[in-house]
């Protein structure tokens, strides 16, 4: 039995302790907003927040999450920064296929929570772990910048 705090709600789940959080979220809890892309922490589409920090859930054994707060794309909009980022994403029409954007938004929210006035350089440093095959990077930069300069 694993005890998990996901999006503010406590769950007791019968899953093996080495199962990556990604699959617990998607296949056990039905929270499919967090995506699978590579399974080796190279693409970032599985990014969630662990105690507020952007974390790749594909390489995160569920047992390592005990006692920590997991936030996913499904609830990040409840935070002011999350809401601002989602709004900026739409205003700047960032999204193309959209598959990676949950992860992009989670990384962006973590960055802007830690550095509300993130510089261009901080944006690139924090976002370069997130791949986008549609290559929406031009608009991701612009959207984050609009929040950091607001």
């Amino acid at each position: 039995m694993q005890k998990l705090m996901v999006n503010g709600v406590e769950h007791q789940l019968d899953v093996p302790d080495d199962m990556p959080l990604l699959w617990v979220l998607r296949d056990v809890m039905g929270l499919t907003g967090t995506k699978y892309g590579c399974g080796i922490a190279q693409c970032g589409v599985c990014t969630v927040h662990l105690d507020g920090h952007a974390t790749r859930s594909c390489v995160l054994p569920v047992s390592a999450v005990a006692g920590r707060q997991v936030t996913t794309i499904e609830s990040v909009g409840e935070q002011p920064v999350g809401q601002a980022v989602q709004k900026a994403w739409l205003e700047h029409e960032v999204v193309q296929c959209g598959y990676c954007q949950s992860g992009q938004i989670m990384s962006a929210v973590a960055l802007l929570t830690e550095h509300p006035k993130a510089s261009d350089e901080q944006i690139v440093d924090a976002m370069s772990g997130n791949l986008c095959r549609c290559a929406t990077y031009t608009r991701i930069r612009a959207a984050i910048k609009s929040v950091s300069q607001a």
């Binding site: 080495d18 974390t55 390489v59 054994p61």
Partner: protein, 405 residues
Amino acid sequence: MKFFHHALGLVASCLTLSVYANETATLSKGEYLTRAADCVACHVVPGGKPFAGGLEFKLPFGSIYSPNITPDKETGIGNWTDDEFVSALQKGVGKDGKHYYPAFPYTSYTLMSREDILAIKGYLFSLEPVKQVPPENTVSFPFNQRWGMMFWNAIFASNERFTPDSKQSAEWNRGAYLVQGPGHCGECHTPRNLFQAMSSGRPLAGAELGNWQAYNISSDVQHGIGAWPEDALVSYLSKGYAPGFGGAGGPMADAVEHSLRYLSPEDLKAIAVYLKSTPAQAEGITRPSMVMNDAALQKGVGLKLFNDTCVACHQLDGSGRQSPAGGLAGLKTVNDPSGKNLIATLIEGHTPKAMRVDQRMPDFAGSYSNEELAAVSTFVLRRFGQSQGQVKPEDIEKSRASALH
């Protein structure tokens, strides 16, 4: 320079992580000893059948290939008698009087009792025979003259069993037996002399192994494992990492995966107790202090690549994101000015399937250039270590060229 004090926290948190599934209870004595002696490490090729051999060893004078030790009568050891098997492990002389090269660690196995050796044979003979002939060795003259090993053996191989030291505890003696005998730790960790024999004066002082460095594991506090708490050693041996102290990579990761994680907690503790009592050898790489160097955070290829591909698991403060297994701070690897094991890890990755996902790392050999890998290596050394190491593209090329297998 900013100090951080994660060390104790890291150690504490690592101990709360689950240990590998307890495999020991179900193992027979023969299988347990086969694991302890890590026979499979050498007698398999990646993706091949266990114990069927065929693994290449690139030696300075040519390549040799491990034999098939499954009970196949034609291509394996199915026709071997007990005496022949014992002779192989204790004297390095196989069936029909053939002398082995000491890539086969009979110089350590010789300490094992006949009873233990036959338990191993019993286990191997219980396995499914595999019909497979290893490639021919390509050793050049005069090293292809196996009879020459007779003289080598006369000087460097002792052919005697382990004798307990009555002045020490049973635990210490158990540890000594495992380390010196079946565990054959010194085969990699003791420097070799001109004749490729383990140096008797510098046991466990560390040695090169292809593109890897087997670190000093003597009790020296700075250079060896003297400062490691016993728990950290047990964690390292059973799980492959001890945050703030070490992470097993390359051949050592293999040893953990195939051998050490199967040993009982008592045996692992015995190993720790023994290692911490060995004569201190003050040589090799020292442990870094747990210090981060902010001056290393300069714009450049190294920092760029670290942010692109490394930071998601290791973090800019080296503390490990998903779990302490990704911690870089405090590891000798980041304090070796040559970056040897760091480079080897970048090139070969770390992907044993038995390891948990937070302990795996992809290899970056394929799509990153020598310049890029040198830059990111240098960044890691400067950021987390104090050696002021500077890795050059040639070092990456050299590591690629001297890969073990």
